[in-house]
């Protein structure tokens, strides 16, 4: 292997690529926040106050590092938890070139399975019941992705439409279960409270010395992070992961190499569904401790999962950080609404803008190139001197 000219060109290009991989998401977030500020200002509110409140809501006050910070960060972590699962779900699909836009439906199925199993397995000890519930929720999520997956593999029906349709079907199905078979006797639009032994314990239960206050963050976060590493390992080191990536990048070459596109598609979308199902279960077992009817809710974690996956460029480990960012936005938005009187929908707008900018790499690349060119010109100028 001699270092030819071609080889050095290749090396240089790979460095540039690495630079952009890191730079694009960061710049996207900054740009999205900037436009968010403009929108806030245009609505007659103070963007500085708004983002200040958002930061306080998400991380506590910076002046005194105190109990309030633990609570706030706990909130952020708690909100990030389902987003890690959902982000992993969407990212896994993307890796096989499948856009699981209906992750929300699989998530609802996971929630309802968790609620139902949680009530049914009330007699079992936690260490048996909780894993069983999680497995059940994953299976429920996978089952909701199964028909779109089969349709994609067999007749090529586009998963964007089918998973979206299943998302709505799932919404009404769970709505019916909550109103009927699993209805709470006293309050409508929710299931009864789950018994405490199937809850995912909050993290202060494990680290009482460190976290001296009760926090919302729960064991689900640890599971989610562990799962992110597992997904990373599956993609990188297993034959299944290899097949998923090969099919995602170039299905024809994968097929030529003996990989079945159809089977890989079904696996990938069902695994994606299972991960989405876990997002629902984690929320039911860790935060709500019951399931609410979501029919009136606008967008769910599934949608945010798309933003998380895209911001993380579908890298499982990066998903953790992207989810924490969106968790912080979500946790801080209530404080922003309260203090600065800015509707929390601004977070949805920022989310959309981030997706847009990450997707529109060309804008960012163009900006980076421009900067490099400027820097080069300046450097040239000093060289002359």
């Amino acid at each position: 292997m001699s270092e030819t000219h071609e080889a050095s060109v290749i090396r240089e290009r790979m460095w540039m690529k690495a630079l952009r991989t890191a730079g694009v998401p960061l710049l996207s977030v900054v740009l999205a926040m900037a436009i968010g500020s403009i929108i806030i200002a245009a609505s007659g509110k103070d963007p500085v106050a708004a983002f200040g409140a958002l930061l306080t809501g998400a991380f506590g006050t910076p002046e005194k590092w105190a109990i309030g910070n633990f609570k706030a960060i706990g909130d952020t972590i708690s909100r990030a938890t389902p987003l890690i699962f959902a982000g992993l779900a969407v990212a896994f699909g993307f890796r096989a070139n499948l856009f699981n836009i209906g992750a929300n439906g699989q998530l609802l199925l996971g929630s309802i399975a968790a609620a139902g199993l949680g009530l049914a397995l009330a007699g079992l000890p936690s260490l048996i019941a909780v894993p069983l519930i999680l497995i059940g929720a994953a299976l429920a999520g996978a089952s909701w992705a199964f028909i779109p997956a089969i349709l994609k593999a067999k007749v090529g029906a586009h998963e964007v439409i089918t998973t979206m349709m299943f998302s709505w079907i799932g919404l009404y199905l769970t709505s019916w279960i909550i109103a009927g078979p699993l209805a709470d006797k006293t309050v409508s639009s929710q299931t009864p409270m789950l018994p405490e032994q199937v809850w995912l314990p909050t993290l202060d239960k494990f680290l009482p010395a460190l976290l001296r206050v009760p926090v919302r963050a729960h064991l689900g976060f640890v599971i989610a992070v562990a799962l992110a590493f597992l997904v990373w390992w599956i993609l990188k080191r297993t034959t299944l992961g290899y097949s998923v990536r090969a099919v995602g990048y170039n299905p024809l070459a994968a097929q030529n190499g003996g990989i079945s596109i159809g089977i890989t598609t079904v696996y990938a979308l069902c695994i994606s569904g299972a991960l989405a199902g876990l997002a629902g279960a984690s929320e039911v077992l860790g935060v709500q401790h019951r399931m609410f009817d979501e029919v009136s809710a606008g967008s769910g974690f599934g949608f945010t999962g798309i933003a998380v996956a895209l911001l993380a460029k579908n890298h499982p480990i990066a998903v953790i950080f992207a989810a924490i960012l969106f968790g912080a936005l979500s946790a801080g938005s209530s404080m922003m609404q309260l203090v600065a009187n800015v509707p929390d929908k601004i977070v949805t707008i920022i989310q959309a803008l981030i997706i847009f900018f990450v997707g529109a790499e060309t804008i960012i690349n163009w900006l980076i190139k421009r900067r490099q060119k400027l820097a080069l010109e300046q450097k040239g100028a000093t060289d002359v001197e």
Partner: protein, 520 residues
């Protein structure tokens, strides 16, 4: 005064000077061949003239006046027409719709189809380019599609016609016909630039030859002043051996047996109509034929990508008729696909990952669903060295390599597997001379080590120099078989067009009429 003149045209792509101060002139009523290897910069130059690429320097003159051609529209308005190597035809549209596209006769935006059809018919009659104006382009043969392309340029009022590798997809007979049309056009006062890398064509039709190499014009001559060997030296920059050196074949036992194979194409029509063939260990069997006569379907059926309707395929007496691609690889078949970007490589995978594609699921590269990275990387390093893939590291993505190195990568994988049967489809398409030699040597080395090789190629030259036996495919059947010594290009070409049925009548006869094909 030349009708078209280029002065010092320069075009730079990242890392490559595709055209370096190229000057060129075309006189009225002249056929000039622009000769050069793949990548010499011929197409780039003509794309600049046609407004598809903006030059980085130099100037273009039409009828002696400097012009700026920013878009194809500008070129068309100046009377420049171009027939691209990959046809610019919209397949679901009709012949007329394709021809008038962009220049529709219309009133208030509503197309006057009657006028359009009449004009097309008139042009078609005047230049002897017969074609059904209402046929869907998708239903036409390649030769017919080319006529539509030429008609389109004429309809747009072209006085200068650029033909980019026009013979690549034609049979020798169709080529003769095309050249007859070109001569008619020139007689009518048009001027033609013929981009090609085929020496015999240049000798046959051009008035003048301009040779390009590495983005520069390296010489100019006329067919009378030189011969093919001289031209080749100019084109490549050194002496070229036309015949590949090879020892006589020692065919042994049959490895691949195909019997009465019938395979459907995408439109559910019979693409293969009962093909039988045998490939023995230690021989190269070449499949010649015009693109689209069932070669692709044959290859795909053997490697398990396409399910045969009837017939059988066996490998060393093992039936693989309905085997999956995976099972076929396991059985000992390696496949160098015709399009390495589409089927050969995962461009976003690194070299190591690409080198195990097809073997990734089992030992020694994986067990229990977990991949053994160390073994994979070690193997990859060895293969990269063995096959001279130029790369700084096995972690480089396949997409970052040059075409020649990518093809070496595919060969490294497919041959490294030590198969019983190698199927190589268009193994040298788009490669430069050095890479072509490498690929040819490797294929012959496989043969000499006792492997069975099935070679499919549009390049008749390649088929003739590598094969020990040659099968000619026409409309889903093996039309004839030659042994290495008895075939020449003219005879093979004769069978490529359906034998007795001369391509002159094929122009008017519907493509699917096979009945006469047997009446030799």
């Amino acid at each position: 005064m030349p009708v078209l003149e280029l002065r010092e045209i320069t075009k730079v792509f990242p890392g490559v000077r595709a055209n370096d101060r190229v000057s060129f002139a075309l006189e009225r009523g002249e056929i000039v061949a622009l000769l050069g290897e793949n990548g010499a910069g011929k197409s780039t130059l003509m794309n600049v003239v046609y407004g598809l690429l903006g030059p980085d320097g130099g100037e273009v003159l039409v009828d002696g006046k400097p012009v700026r051609i920013r878009t194809p529209r500008d070129a068309i308005d100046l009377g420049i027409g171009m027939v691209h190597q990959h046809f610019m035809l919209v397949e679901p549209l009709t012949v007329t719709e394709n021809i008038i596209l962009g220049h529709e006769p219309s009133r208030f935006g509503v197309i006057d189809f009657a006028t359009a059809r009449a004009k097309v018919s008139e042009l078609s009659a005047r230049y002897g380019l017969k074609v059904d104006p209402d046929a869907r382009v998708a239903d036409l043969s390649v030769g017919m599609q080319q006529r539509v392309e030429i008609l389109k340029a004429l309809y747009q009022g072209a006085r200068i016609l650029i033909l980019d590798e026009p013979t690549a997809v034609l049979t020798p007979q169709e080529v003769r016909e095309l050249f007859a049309v070109v001569r008619t056009l020139v007689a009518e006062g048009l001027s033609v630039v013929l981009i090609t890398h085929k020496l015999d064509e240049v000798m046959g039709v051009a008035d003048r030859v301009v040779v390009m190499r590495d983005g520069r014009v390296v010489g100019e001559t006329t067919p009378g002043q030189t011969d093919q060997v001289g031209l080749a030296r100019m084109m490549v920059g050194r002496d070229v051996v036309f015949r590949v050196e090879k020892a006589p074949a020692k065919p042994a036992e049959a490895v691949l047996e195909v019997r009465d194979l019938v395979v459907l194409d995408e439109r559910k029509l019979d693409a293969l109509k009962g093909v039988s063939l045998t490939v023995r260990a230690g021989e190269v069997v070449g499949i010649a034929g015009v693109d689209g006569n069932g070669q692709r379907e044959l290859v795909e059926a053997i490697v398990g990508l396409r399910r045969p309707k009837s017939g059988s395929i066996s490998l060393r007496d093992k039936d693989i008729t309905h085997a999956s691609p995976h099972a076929t690889i396991e059985a000992g078949v390696s496949h160098v696909p015709e399009d390495r970007h589409r089927r050969g490589l995962v461009l976003e995978f690194d070299l190591a990952e690409n080198l195990v594609l097809g073997d990734q699921a089992g030992p020694p590269y994986a067990s229990g669903g977990v991949m053994h990275t160390k073994v994979i990387d070690e193997t990859a390093r060895t293969r990269v060295a063995d096959y001279d893939v130029r790369t700084p590291s096995i972690r480089v993505l396949a997409g970052a390599l040059s075409g020649g190195n990518q093809q070496k990568l595919v060969l490294a994988r497919e041959l490294g597997r030590n198969p019983d049967l190698l199927i190589a489809a268009q193994p040298t398409r788009g490669l430069d001379v050095g890479a072509i030699e490498f690929v040819h040597k490797r294929i012959l080395a496989e043969r000499d080590s006792g492997k069975a090789v099935l070679l499919v190629s549009m390049e008749l030259e390649e088929i003739m120099s590598l094969s020990d036996r040659i099968l000619v495919m026409y409309e889903g059947k093996v039309a004839v078989e030659f042994s290495a010594g008895e075939a020449d290009a003219e005879r093979i070409g004769f069978f490529m067009t359906g034998g007795a049925k001369h391509s002159g009548s094929a122009a008017t006869a519907p493509k699917s009429s096979v009945a006469e094909a047997g009446a030799l």
